[in-house]
């Protein structure tokens, strides 16, 4: 898996060309869309009610487009100007801000009904300068406390990210808890390398939606996704083999063909063909 967050800071990594590539890749669009829908599901907003959402690290508006479709009003922040430019070209409805989330938000208390963030938090886990305000814990602390303030009580924030280690998850959850959030980690498809997705589900107050909603939602687990693709085909082939219906690869015809080939090439010592060719030997015992 590539780790762009280890190569350069986001505002540099997502320059003009990378921003275009990121937005036009259909595979990426699909992944982002799936995760956005899943995040909205985890956000558990009351159906039919309007909501004002915050999209953290909105980028070129791939997730924002879905928020528009679903009828939510939203504001987005991102640190990469090139990404925001692409977002402007795509004419999405939300308000965009050029902002470093590690510096904290300036939103008034209780501004938003919820927040989503798709593939962003891992960018906060690397220090870029040795200044104390750019250490990851400091930035995360600033991010979570101001986010907690900006959200309504009760509400939720769903942050999807790609952790490299369990330590990172530990660090994130502990800082989020200190900032006053409840909740925890939801992992979708935990047994699949490719489809595994980690969501940090943070609750302000009860997290919205009544008493029973306080517990963490279940992660998705799907039988098919635990296996590699085509594994089922491999299995059926194996099964056929055992029951003997599948033809042996090196049968009599194959042997005869090979011998004929060797003779044509003038190889010496090719055995004669007989009725015993390609037969199994008797068991000795």
């Amino acid at each position: 898996m590539s780790r762009p967050e280890l190569q350069a800071p986001p505002e540099i990594y997502y320059g003009d060309s990378e921003a275009k590539k990121y937005t036009t890749s259909t595979r990426n669009q699909q992944i982002q869309a799936d995760m956005t829908y899943r995040a909205l599901e985890l956000l558990n907003l009351p159906p039919g009610e309007p909501a004002f959402l915050l999209d953290i690290g909105c980028g070129s508006g791939l997730s924002g487009e879905i928020l528009d479709e679903e009828g939510y009003v939203w504001a987005g922040v991102d640190i990469a100007p090139s990404m925001l430019e692409v977002a402007l070209e795509r004419e999405i409805e939300g308000d965009l801000f050029l902002q470093d989330i590690g510096q904290g938000f300036g939103f008034r208390p209780g501004s938003f009904d919820g927040a989503i963030s798709i593939s962003v938090l891992q960018w906060l886990l690397n220090a870029e300068t040795s200044h104390p305000t750019s250490s990851p814990p400091h930035r995360l602390n600033r991010f979570f406390t101001t986010l907690h303030t900006a959200l309504r009580n009760p509400s939720r924030a769903i942050l999807q990210f790609y952790p490299t280690s369990d330590d990172q998850i530990q660090l994130l959850t502990s800082i989020a808890q200190k900032a006053g959030f409840g909740g925890g980690i939801v992992v979708d498809y935990p047994n699949s390398k490719k489809a595994k997705k980690v969501f940090l589900c943070l609750f302000v107050g009860g997290g919205g939606g009544g008493q029973q909603q306080q517990q963490l939602p279940e992660g998705l687990a799907c039988e098919e996704d635990e296996h590699a693709r085509f594994e089922r085909r491999r299995e059926t082939e194996k099964r056929r083999n055992r029951s003997g219906t599948r033809k042996a690869l090196k049968d009599r015809d194959w042997i005869l063909k090979k011998k004929e080939l060797y003779r044509q090439r003038g190889k010496e010592g090719v055995p004669r063909d007989s009725k015993y060719t390609g037969r199994k030997r008797k068991a000795v015992f």
Partner: protein, 123 residues
């Protein structure tokens, strides 16, 4: 695209600037009007979160004086429509937002406000 709805939720986040840091004052603004779908439910839903005085002031700064200076007791359809226009359809495209307390200026260019802080301003 700074709409007045987001402007009304935005305060200054410079280190130590915690009082009198709202609302940010518009300066040298250029606005653009873009029609948006009218959703009365959303407007009534967001209304309790808005600071009425700040909204009226901000609307005045961008040249819209249609709102009454006091928050009306009853909301009728006309007023909701008026509010919808002010909140959702006026987009500030160029200019700046100035914090009334620390005078930090957040420049807006091409519809995107630059909220980045310098090293010494980070809280």
């Amino acid at each position: 695209m700074v709409r007045l709805i987001t402007h009304n939720l935005l305060a200054c986040h410079v280190k130590g600037c915690t009082s009198n840091n709202f609302p940010l004052i518009f300066q040298d603004v250029q606005i653009e009007l873009q029609e948006a779908e009218f959703n009365p439910d959303f407007v009534t839903h967001i209304l309790p979160r808005l600071e009425w005085g700040a909204l009226v002031d901000a609307a005045k700064q961008v040249g819209d004086t249609s709102l009454p200076p006091e928050r009306p007791e009853m909301m009728d359809d006309d007023l909701l429509r008026q509010l919808h226009h002010v909140l959702m359809e006026i987009h500030v495209v160029e200019g700046a937002m100035i914090c009334p307390n620390c005078k930090h200026s957040y420049p807006i260019s091409n519809g995107i406000p630059n909220m980045l802080l310098a090293e010494h301003e980070i809280g």
